[in-house]
Symmetry: D3
Amino acid sequence: MKINLINPNTCIGMTEKIASSAKSVALATTDIIASSPTHGPESIESAFDEVIASAALLDVIRQGEEQKVDAHIIACFGDPALDAAREIATVPVIGIAGAAFQLASLVSYRFGIVTTMTRTLPASEHLLQRYGYQHFCSGARATDIAVLDLEDTSEDIYLELKNECEKSIQIDGAEAIVLGCAGMSDLAARLAEELQVPVIDGVSAAVKLAESLYQLGLNTCKIGQYGLPLNKAFHGRYQHWGSSKKQ
Amino acid sequence: MKINLINPNTCIGMTEKIASSAKSVALATTDIIASSPTHGPESIESAFDEVIASAALLDVIRQGEEQKVDAHIIACFGDPALDAAREIATVPVIGIAGAAFQLASLVSYRFGIVTTMTRTLPASEHLLQRYGYQHFCSGARATDIAVLDLEDTSEDIYLELKNECEKSIQIDGAEAIVLGCAGMSDLAARLAEELQVPVIDGVSAAVKLAESLYQLGLNTCKIGQYGLPLNKAFHGRYQHWGSSKKQ
Amino acid sequence: MKINLINPNTCIGMTEKIASSAKSVALATTDIIASSPTHGPESIESAFDEVIASAALLDVIRQGEEQKVDAHIIACFGDPALDAAREIATVPVIGIAGAAFQLASLVSYRFGIVTTMTRTLPASEHLLQRYGYQHFCSGARATDIAVLDLEDTSEDIYLELKNECEKSIQIDGAEAIVLGCAGMSDLAARLAEELQVPVIDGVSAAVKLAESLYQLGLNTCKIGQYGLPLNKAFHGRYQHWGSSKKQ
Amino acid sequence: MKINLINPNTCIGMTEKIASSAKSVALATTDIIASSPTHGPESIESAFDEVIASAALLDVIRQGEEQKVDAHIIACFGDPALDAAREIATVPVIGIAGAAFQLASLVSYRFGIVTTMTRTLPASEHLLQRYGYQHFCSGARATDIAVLDLEDTSEDIYLELKNECEKSIQIDGAEAIVLGCAGMSDLAARLAEELQVPVIDGVSAAVKLAESLYQLGLNTCKIGQYGLPLNKAFHGRYQHWGSSKKQ
Amino acid sequence: MKINLINPNTCIGMTEKIASSAKSVALATTDIIASSPTHGPESIESAFDEVIASAALLDVIRQGEEQKVDAHIIACFGDPALDAAREIATVPVIGIAGAAFQLASLVSYRFGIVTTMTRTLPASEHLLQRYGYQHFCSGARATDIAVLDLEDTSEDIYLELKNECEKSIQIDGAEAIVLGCAGMSDLAARLAEELQVPVIDGVSAAVKLAESLYQLGLNTCKIGQYGLPLNKAFHGRYQHWGSSKKQ
Amino acid sequence: MKINLINPNTCIGMTEKIASSAKSVALATTDIIASSPTHGPESIESAFDEVIASAALLDVIRQGEEQKVDAHIIACFGDPALDAAREIATVPVIGIAGAAFQLASLVSYRFGIVTTMTRTLPASEHLLQRYGYQHFCSGARATDIAVLDLEDTSEDIYLELKNECEKSIQIDGAEAIVLGCAGMSDLAARLAEELQVPVIDGVSAAVKLAESLYQLGLNTCKIGQYGLPLNKAFHGRYQHWGSSKKQ
């Protein structure tokens, strides 16, 4: 199968990192196509960044559709534009936050989220509410590491992250850690080994769920809420959505 | 005061209609500047439309900021991009759905929502949940009138809408009607008179709330979740957000 | 328009204070009639006080109806007797707690409540639940200043209150402060200036909402839950309600 | 033990009826003192009626305290003034709605409420929410029998009530019926026999709970939320509360 | 009446202890038959223990049915197998946790739970959620006293328990204490005297509720969810359930 | 990897059926060991059946542990004994209801559940609440086909089931169907083809999730709530649990 793994920001380093994480867990028969939008912010750390990146990533969904992929993964912990993507895609679309919550709930009584900037914490709360996982979560903690600083592979960054994970386990009672940023996916294995609790990287989780749906022949229901949007005129920089939205 | 009244779709007729509704209820000292984005869809009827319109309307927020307006109103019933707009604006931003819910709850025990397409109903549910008004709502009903068909001023359209309002009152127990589309604002007065219950148009409601905040000197807290986004690089068609995001 | 601004306790100083706050924010065309019941407690600090004051304030609602006011405001943070007042009034009735929550949610991600006695905290919880604003609230804090001690204009009282507001902001993460007692309305402006976050006084908020409803021609739906009570016999000290309940 | 069984309205027939129901289930050692306020409405069918009756019934609580009763029961399905009564009483206070919900949940998976007027339905909803029994309730149904018409012992009234109980069982899936008015207590036994499901009369339920608390030596915690109200001045017709509130 | 008081674990000391507690509060006409299963764990401190004890205690329910008891009490704070027991019993079945919550909510604004092992805390959370009492609970605290160590009557154990109760009152704001283990029932009276707040032992509470139901003639609705299970084959060590499930 | 696929009832036909379903979707490298307990009921259709089957299935978990399996699947829609199984297992344990909800939420806006007997509907409600998927579910419907009648492969049974699925889609608005019994797993493919919406069989879903966890190296956190139960004495028919609980 072919998976369109979308990094919704424009940071190439992060696209490469998640591609590598995804490939390391994918089945031999799974082809990971990592991509990112041409347009938009270099990182997503506010509602503003997310709105811009959301519009930009829909172009990458369409690209994937043209390439006849079998699933799309939106690899940003806010699961931006998930409903919109499901509308325009003909194959399943999975967000990494939702994917991580699902698998975390299978291996722990309560999981903690450890993320980047303090101001992204409400995004975690909204996602937990949207997916109904509030009672599985012992709390979300911010490291105040900026998303792009995760590109820095220094030990300091790792230790800050690990330190916050330890607080989540010892103070909040987390029995598993959900990493709150796609840019942390390369650190999951080391953290798991050193923390001795399950550490869930949403990118890897989403890849396995995409493969699961594919093998079961399950696809998004295209009648109802995720049906194709009505055709209509789009103006200016979105003119290209005006007539060829449907595949 | 100056209010930036934003129609997030590109349909000029609707922009004119809401301008007229807003002006008819504004104080003499309130200056309504009605505007709409250059880019984006002609109407908003799906999550996809909303994501595109959200990115587009942020440009209009910035325009308003440059014109030194005292408040912004996002005049689409989904309250798209509300958090993002609050981050980049220096003055209050009000969504018409939230505004309508607030005033409706002051004059009725339970209100009903009557909206356009069936597939926009989940948007109403999400808004009720976001704002905490689920228990004030007797239910949302769709007329399956397309947004642009509201431009059609024929009696038929009016009667279909009125018919659904009557069901909301008689079957669901609504004691007030919240109109679920900015494009219905011109019909509120007639409906109120014929239905004999309060009919709340979010555009008018938002204008009064904007004036209220202004007169009380209340402005968005710019420390915390609605602080200005961090400066960062934006690429491609969003390059203009890269350096001058702050006012 | 004429607003019947009701202080439900019998403390004249507080009635004067809220009248002054209300007048300072009202439109030139708004006439504020401040009043308080002849009967009942000097302050409301327990469920017991509230029950007595509730019965007493309904007489003041009737007085206002006889004076043909256009709205009633119940200026006690517990919003006592709100539903009962809406039943016997022919014009909108607004509680100051609900009004404060509404405006606070427009200018902050999360607001804190700072109130008087610890034992009034459950009242705040009930109101947040009733109105659906729990998730907008970062917590309620008590100063243990007795309601009548707010009549004391000493710097000490002010500083105690300010101190609790600071804890609400710094510890609980409040981005705006809702003042939990009508008797604090004269301190809102100074607090806002010194705390540098929005400070919402419910009295002022309710005045603007009453004006908003009036200008929009919105009135309580009198069919259904807020319909006039059935006529029936009342005995003893409530005999006067027996026959002239209807206007 | 002595129980102060309070009918909060002034209808003597109802006081006698509930006295009789209570006595029929009380232990031989339990003394039922049935009483009603001198003041207030003849029946409680709106929020307005309830506010007036609430203030009036507190005098009857005090009377009971002077008579050194061991528990108070508020025998109106809205459980009016329950918190206030707990504050001024030195012994337990039980509301009949809460009592009925508790016992109903012990003998059925889901119970239905069958009550008087349609407009009292929101009171049932609030009580279910307050006590946390929403998920035990299959729905509340109104008979639109006025409270005082329950004094009428005609077969018609009984059949109307029985008919609504049958709908609750057959349509809503109720496995037990909670009677939504103290004035129905004399009909519980016949309904139970004919409907063949448990029928819970709150008056009887409350008597057994009062006896249970008494036998276990459990009394209201008087430190905290149910502590005695602070002493303060009361004016006019409530002057008597000013100094002798404490027993 | 005859009550089948079931200790679901096999520790005879605990069976005797709860028998003594139950008898000390039962009416003279109530016959307490204390029993425990022949099979299963010596104490219940994990989900695993509870599953085994649940199957084992159903045999004791059947024994009670054969002895024609009038009610069954499941005397383990997890209320194990409550629904299953209600299905196979022809008379009411009461769990001690639910019973304790009910009476605690009648005498306090918020109660705290003080229990044994930390890992039983989720059981308390589930019970609060199941019964709808979350908002009545100020929190659950574990003493990490093993269940069987409660058989030890040393002062140390008592003081550890009392210490945690004091934290519940002073830190969490509990106004009453619910004891989270049947094995603590002998300590309730001393704790109540020393802590000066109501202390609720679920065993005693359940006895009074069982007597209440009996005196009111209320029995489990045997149509619907608590109807007798369908007859079917059972194999191996559960073969005895195969044909004589019905009484 | 080796999966211990447990049918918790003793019906061999059902064990074979789910084995076949599981094998049809498993990877080539996955070894499915289908098993069922020696003890217990032939089908699970009440809380009573579930309690007995729960105790019985734990023996099969232990068997699987001795066979060094890599995951256990509990193939009954009530997810019986899930927490207990996680405590005694050293590898992940997955319930088919939770698994089905997770995948269904990835391919539909709202899913419906179609199950066997009416009296199992509360079990579905509890599971939705436990896992937080209530808002993803458009409702649960019962066919009143007994579990063992699913062994009957006649067209009638299929058509009854299909008919209820169609109601779920057309009346309740389901966009996907979750099959509410392991015994329906052989019908999923035909239903999906004829209904034209995703049909999710929990057995297949659980197999893919088990494989996903295995490939990601994620295992149940054995510190905390799912830690091994404390060692203790077990009596009678559960004596074998007394000393060798740990692997």
